[in-house]
């Protein structure tokens, strides 16, 4: 379907598509097998200016919004969700600075993020704080003109690979979530190190790692936003980033549909290509219907968010749930269409199905998204 993109949006799509076709697809199976971080591809992405799309023009970016990020991520995810996740994590990691940072912080970090010379990461999750993010235990205590951070962050995307980290820590532990603040921690800061690197089911090219803060001392001006407003910023950050995760589902499902249709046209059984059988056609038709519905919802949500509405949580959560549940279903069906071949690593749909699962889990499980939607409905009808 024609979504009537602007010239700049089409340029973003074309550029991301070239990266996917030329740089990602030829190596994705190897990166997956070796659990290898796609450093060179991220450098190619940087050279192509894609890191600049979400940064405002005054800091060296292109000034794009949620829609532009979604379009780029969709194309990159068509190649590999692991690579696309690594790219997306840099946006996620810097959103707190864009939302609540001081002018000095923006001047200091955004130009490097835009050029792709430094990457960011977002440190919220802990062993005891997943869906219940208010359970975090990492603390930040002011000591003279330095903050001292202590705690361990878990499953941090781009951990050990990024240079800039947005870390959520409690500045007033007695106040719970209202006592949380966000800090910028940089690679090399004293007391900051990396722990266990996870061995994952899917998105294996992305780095998922522990961040260890042990009497980590950082200058006072690394606090992002006002003290105690960390959770508000976290929620705004996630509202902005969820459509990106949804778009990973769209790109992934498109890739799975492409593989399934091409295979069904080539595979001959009972003397005919299997696409001529209605049983197969209906699976493919359902995949295409779900995919297009998901895409339309994600684009609509992204445009809604770019209009700077009062409340974007419901739209953001709805598109995340729909697109990622859809991606799980469509990739599973793609494996079914390819049959035994689909289950083998020689064909790309096996990896696609493994990669799909995380989309239903990270950046808020799809159950938590439904909670958000339910609470919003409750408010709307009160």
């Amino acid at each position: 379907m024609d979504y009537f993109f602007s010239e700049q949006q089409q340029m973003i799509i074309d550029t991301a598509r070239e990266i996917t076709n030329e740089k990602i697809i030829p190596v994705r199976a190897e990166l997956d097998e070796k659990n290898q971080f796609p450093r060179e591809i991220l450098q190619d992405i940087a050279k192509a200016d894609l890191f600049s799309i979400f940064v405002p023009e005054e800091y060296g970016g292109l000034g794009g919004g949620c829609y532009e990020i979604v379009l780029a991520l969709e194309e990159l995810a068509r190649g590999c969700v692991g690579v696309a996740t690594s790219f997306a994590a840099s946006a996620l990691g810097i959103f707190p600075v864009m939302i609540a940072g001081t002018e000095e912080q923006k001047q200091k970090y955004l130009p490097d993020i835009a050029s792709g010379s430094r990457w960011a990461a977002f440190g919220l999750t802990e062993a005891n704080a997943g869906s219940d993010a208010s359970g975090i235990q990492t603390t930040a205590i002011l000591d003279g003109d330095e903050w001292v951070l202590n705690g361990t962050k878990q499953w941090i995307t781009n951990g050990g690979e990024s240079q800039i980290y947005s870390i959520v820590a409690l500045t007033d532990p007695s106040k719970g979530a209202r006592g949380a603040s966000i800090f910028i921690v940089e690679d090399g800061d004293p007391g900051f190190s990396y722990g266990k690197k996870e061995d994952k089911m899917g998105i294996r090219s992305s780095s998922t790692r522990e961040l260890i803060l042990k009497d980590c001392r950082i200058p006072i001006d690394r606090l992002v936003g006002k003290r105690g407003t960390g959770f508000i910023t976290v929620m705004k950050t996630l509202d902005m980033s969820r459509p990106g995760i949804a778009s990973l589902g769209i790109g992934l499902a498109q890739a799975a549909l492409d593989e399934a249709v091409i295979y069904a046209k080539q595979r001959v059984q009972f003397g005919k290509p299997i696409i001529s059988f209605q049983a197969v056609q209906h699976i493919l038709a359902d995949m295409a219907i779900q995919l297009e519905a998901g895409r339309a919802l994600v684009y609509a949500a992204a445009r809604h968010i770019d209009s700077n509405p009062k409340n974007m949580s419901k739209a953001s959560s709805m598109c995340k749930v729909f697109a990622t549940d859809m991606a799980m279903k469509v990739t599973t069906d793609a494996v079914q269409v390819l049959g035994g071949y689909g289950y083998m690593k020689e064909y790309p749909v096996e990896k696609m199905m493994r990669d799909a699962k995380i989309l239903q889990i990270y950046e808020g499980t799809n159950q938590i998204q439904r909670n958000v939607i339910g609470q919003e409905l409750n408010k709307e009808y009160s």
């Binding site: 050279k47 192509a48 200016d49 600049s52």
Partner: protein
Amino acid sequence: MNIFVCIKQVPDAKDVRLDPVTNTLAREGVESIMNPYDRHALEEAVAIKEQLGGKVTVITMGPPQAEAVLREAIACGADEGVLISDRAFAGADTWATSYTLAMAVKTLGAFDLILCGKQAIDGDTAQVGPGLACRLQVPFATCVQKTRKVNDVAIEVERMMDDGFDVLRLPLPALMTVVKDINEPRVASLKGKMRAKKAEIRKFSATEIGADPQCVGLAGSPTQVVRVFSPEPRGDRKIFSGSVIEQVDQLVECLKAHL
């Protein structure tokens, strides 16, 4: 460092057809692309510019629509595009093409280095690069697989050979043609594409480069193409299987049958 890169717009090799009536390349409806080897020449030029500073100018001889590859080159890091276009250039072989490009280069002025792809994927002659160097009276290296060292006075390169490579040192100005192993061309950047869209392409006609009408296009081309055709597919192929000894036995039997 003032670098010129000679590029060519060619039909996409994925989609090559011959017109069965005229026996010429069917160009209608076939997508045009930048000759793949030229992308590597351009990337090398941009990389050298990034290292030493200077300017990269891309030059192409072709019909007006060849402007598209110049803009693509600018999106990939070139600074300026020059289109050499004239009806008089039509039908040029490599002799006339190298003459025309040499006249264009002389019009543009002094240069330090000229880069070309090893060959174009449509003609596949690999003659234009060396021809251009000879007409400009500069040293050249063909099939360069690596730039070892480059500075303002000389360039040291590896020339790919069947059995390894030669290391050549060329005083500048010089010309080199490159193979695909030399680098990985970058994807055109967003800012590059925006610049390319607005860039002004300089255009030169035969008169503007001072070309002798007898030396360009069909008139200046000693090569005469008598016929181009697709060879008839041969249907009598036979593929042997089994161990080498079994295959040899089968081959011998097959040859005996034809004695």
